[in-house]
């Protein structure tokens, strides 16, 4: 089986990422993402105060004790900022993985079985595509309450239709190749063919899709936190912080500006990096075709 699989070499990720990083935009993007992710992951370790302790008067100006002032309840803005990235990062990553897994499963199945099952699956995806994600989330939150797992699941499954479309489109061409026929002739089970033979050959468009979906997940999760249905107070969360403090925007801008900048830089950085991967993978595919 391994001999069969090596006839067509899957694109090596090291090569793809290396090529992507030859674009200056992609370098800039990756650096931004790493910096913000580091703040989000390591922030709680260096935060001067806990996310919920009161350190001064509400909307206080920056002092030595509270580097970026205090929020509407007198909590340290900087500490809450350092604490508040984890939830967004973890939830967006989880949502992206859920969406990609579901989308890839549907797309691969549709491309492999073809026929009426393909039609049914893809029309179902079209129907799901015709509904705004944020409204879907609100609909479910209204019935089940603001649970983190629910938000991860809906945002993730909201990505699935688009991922399924992309997966099916690129997999259609791969399943026609000879090594798939040989694998079938050797009697490999379908899940193995899809997982071990088809999947590695469509990995670079899927990597681009992952980056794109992650960008949107961050935006969506942050937006849900912002409108108040994500992480519930008193926990710290970038989206929630913006919501809590925007009333005091004209007296204490830091409590809004810090999380807004973090979310903005994270999504922009992610998009720039993904754009680099996309450009690099087009280059590789062209090289392979020639």
């Amino acid at each position: 089986m391994s001999a069969v699989a090596t006839i067509e070499k899957p694109v090596r990720h090291a090569g793809l990422l290396g090529r992507a990083l030859s674009f200056r935009r992609a370098q800039l993007g990756l650096a931004t993402v790493v910096a913000i992710a580091a703040i989000a992951m390591l922030g709680p370790l260096v935060a001067p105060h806990s996310a919920t302790s009161f350190v001064g008067a509400p909307y206080g100006d920056p002092t030595a004790r509270a580097l970026f002032g205090t929020d509407g309840l007198g909590r340290d803005v900087f500490s809450r900022f350092l604490w508040g990235g984890r939830s967004i990062l973890a939830m967006s990553l989880a949502a992206t993985v859920v969406g990609l897994a579901a989308g890839i499963a549907v797309g691969l199945t549709a491309a492999y079985v073809r026929g009426w099952a393909d039609e049914v699956l893809m029309r179902l995806m079209d129907v799901a595509l015709a509904f705004p994600q944020i409204v879907l989330v609100l609909l479910l939150v209204a019935t089940l309450g603001p649970q983190p797992w629910l938000i991860v699941l809906t945002v993730g499954l909201g990505h699935a239709p688009r991922v399924a479309r992309v997966t099916r489109a690129v997999a259609l061409e791969v399943v026609e190749r000879d090594f798939i026929k040989s694998a079938k002739a050797l009697g490999e089970p379908a899940w193995r063919i899809l997982g071990a033979e088809v999947l590695p050959n469509i990995s670079s468009p899927l990597l681009v899709e992952f980056g794109l979906r992650l960008t949107y997940s961050i935006g969506a999760i942050a937006a849900i936190g912002f409108i108040g249905f994500g992480v519930q107070p008193p926990a710290a969360d970038w989206g929630l912080m913006i919501n809590e403090n925007r009333i005091g925007l004209s007296i204490q801008p830091w409590s809004v500006l810090l999380p807004v900048l973090a979310i903005g830089l994270l999504t922009v950085g992610m998009n720039l990096f993904t754009d680099g991967i996309a450009r690099a993978s087009i280059g590789i595919d062209r090289g392979a075709a020639q």
Binding site: P132, Q133, V135, A142, A222, L249, G264, T267, N271
Partner: protein
């Protein structure tokens, strides 16, 4: 939100065509970089940055929250609508402009455009009369999707500006667990989606002679 749509469509056509005509020159690079950055920013981040820039921290020229008076026609209180409309525009224009650019480039490379140029037509006429109508087809599809997205994306932007609209109503209803209202509003937004997609299909058929004459 009609205001946003009215600005977004011509603006993105213009930006897309400008990028395509000046392909790979400085203008194109700047436009594509800007659209890449703006496309990634979540809509509420754009909204809040605009509020900080024009309503609270830097300039004090526009209202930070929308307080519409229902008895006064909307064009008399246009200042109230500027920030929300611009926010939505910045959120949708990058996608639309990118599609416009891509399809315009494809059309400009086609043989009939080359033919028109060889006939010695003025470049402006080639672009407007020969290339643009054909480049519009993919653009219309994306526009419909983006405008439909506006119906949903408006939820968060309305919340930023406290705009008294369908999105704000939906959020309030969810917060109060007011299920019938949530259901109604979700259904309404879904209906807008279906309607816009149908309109886009009709417009595509009207613009494509092959489809227009298929039945006769």
């Amino acid at each position: 939100m009609l205001a946003a749509a009215l600005i977004a469509i011509p603006a993105s056509i213009l930006i897309g065509v400008a990028g395509a005509v000046r392909r790979d020159r400085a203008v194109d690079h700047i436009l594509s970089m800007a659209s890449l950055v703006l496309a990634a920013l979540p809509d509420f981040v754009i909204g809040i940055l605009l509020v900080m820039l024009f309503a609270t921290q830097v300039f004090h020229v526009l209202p930070a929250v929308t307080m519409l008076d229902n008895d006064v026609p909307i064009w008399r209180q246009a200042a109230q609508v500027i920030l929300p409309a611009v926010t939505l525009d910045i959120a949708v224009i990058p996608y639309m402009a990118r599609i416009m650019r891509a399809s315009m480039i494809e059309v400009l490379e086609s043989e009939y455009v080359q033919m028109a140029r060889l006939k010695g037509m003025p470049p402006a006429r080639v672009i407007l009369r020969h290339a643009l109508p054909n480049a519009m087809v993919p653009f219309i599809q994306v526009t419909a999707l983006q405008l439909a997205w506006l119906a949903g994306g408006v939820v968060v932007v309305e919340f930023v500006f406290r705009f008294p609209g369908i999105g704000q109503a939906l959020i309030d209803a969810v917060a109060n667990r007011d299920l019938p209202v949530v259901q109604t509003l979700a259904l309404l937004i879904g209906a807008v989606y279906v309607l816009l997609n149908t309109l886009a299909d009709v417009a595509t058929i009207l613009l494509t002679p092959r489809l227009r004459t298929a039945h006769s």
